[in-house]
């Protein structure tokens, strides 16, 4: 009869409670939430809760529920609950699960600077944490958004898996400092991505006499999207006259490179920048 009563009592326990001999612990506890552990017996004892994420010890009165306040046990993971020691110890196990409210993000964005019009050139990965820096493992929507001046906003909504979401995006056609933002719930994190002009699209040069020399100048140098190539980009001018060759590297200034070369009749003058070569001029002595 006593066995039957004991079995019945066991079956009537709530499903969310684990029972060791003298301990009743919840199967799971949300991180940072209050909970209770029921004990049986009488007298005093030491109750220990321990796992890789946290350890707690409490001197307790047996036979009374032991309350843990909000914020006492907060690190997600698996825990042992021990009451007493050795062969007579009561041992139970339970899990602390992450809270479901995002409180901080770990946002990795790459790169900080890239050329315009680069397909899938920007990548972002976001890790979602609760208030106690536990990775939130339940799937949740994460919004990853790239917004730059003069460009359409690119938005991706990605569902997190194992606490993480990632995406890739194209850089815009116009140069700008774009804001790359990851957002989960009310929490967001932003990185600045500098979208800079790409390589020169074409190169065109003109020449005119300047005393005994020749002034050679490029037209404004732009990338294939029409963005002005940044100052400092090198344009290489080459003058071929008979067997002699003159090569001069000139940085762009306000989108234009200018050089004075010896005015040698019959000389061939050309320019190049990056992988782009410009037109060739043959100087016929002003004719």
């Amino acid at each position: 009869m006593r066995v039957r009563e004991a079995l019945l009592a066991y079956l009537l326990l709530p499903a969310s409670v684990a029972v060791a001999q003298g301990l009743q612990v919840p199967h799971t506890v949300p991180a940072g939430k209050s909970f209770e552990i029921a004990t049986h017996g009488s007298g005093k004892g030491a109750l220990i809760i321990v796992g890789p994420g946290q350890a707690l010890r409490r001197e307790v009165q047996l036979g009374t529920p032991i309350s843990f306040a909000a914020g006492e046990l907060y690190s997600a993971g698996h825990y042992l609950v021990i009451l007493g020691e050795g062969a007579s110890a009561d041992v139970a196990e339970f899990d602390v699960i992450p809270d479901h409210e995002a409180k901080s993000l770990g946002f990795l964005a790459k790169p900080s600077r890239l050329p315009v019009n680069t397909h899938n050139g920007i990548s972002g990965a976001v890790y979602v944490f609760d208030a106690y820096r536990n990775l939130i493992t339940v799937p949740m929507p994460a919004t990853l958004e790239l917004a730059g001046a003069g460009s359409a906003v690119q938005t991706r909504i990605v569902t997190t898996k194992n606490g993480m979401a990632w995406t890739t995006l194209d850089s815009a056609a116009k140069e700008s400092a774009a804001r790359f933002t990851a957002r989960v719930g009310n929490i967001s994190s932003t990185r600045i991505i500098n979208q800079v002009p790409g390589d020169p699209c074409s190169l065109s040069i003109t020449a005119k006499p300047n005393g005994t020399r020749l002034e050679v100048q490029t037209a404004p140098v732009r990338d294939c999207s029409g963005n002005t190539i940044p100052d400092g980009t090198i344009v290489t001018f080459i003058e071929l006259a008979g067997n002699s060759q003159t090569t001069v590297d000139v940085p762009l200034k306000q989108g234009v490179a200018t050089i004075n070369l010896p005015a040698i009749p019959g000389a061939k003058i050309s320019a190049a920048s990056g992988v782009v070569a410009g037109n060739e001029i043959r100087w016929e002595g002003g004719r």
């Binding site: 321990v50 050795g86 990548s123």
Partner: protein
Amino acid sequence: MTRTLALVCGLMITVPGLAGEPAVRVRPADLQGSRPLEKQTETSVVRDYLQSWRSLQEALDQNQAAKLDRDFIGTAREKLGSTIESQGRSGIHTLYTDRSHDLQVVFYSAEGLSIQMIDNVEYEEKVMSKDTVLATRVVHGRFIVVMSPSETRWQVRVFQAGSN
């Protein structure tokens, strides 16, 4: 303690545990379009992760947080360090002995600064007060691990368990 781990790209590899060593199984990476994972990188990540369990074992058994410094960083280092402090205050120490690992890399970030891995692990947890064993349990857990590279090795940044 040195462990030799053979990995062949695209194949599931099981390394049976030698005496005192955990059995290690490495499943093919499931990256779903993130950065491709070179075999050499995967081998290093798995090797360093398994070594981090040795550090964890020693640190939590001896209550010496400094033993975590080589292998743990960020949130993982802070939380384990805090556990060691609490264990010391509570007069206990804990011996974690990993028996088997079933590992799979699930994400490698494009800039190469973050690798996420799932470890279905079996370990023994022995809780002691000085030399008295308070309790022993074998635990089957699913760890989510995030690792990032330092100058010389991969370090564990997130080390979070749930049960199977």
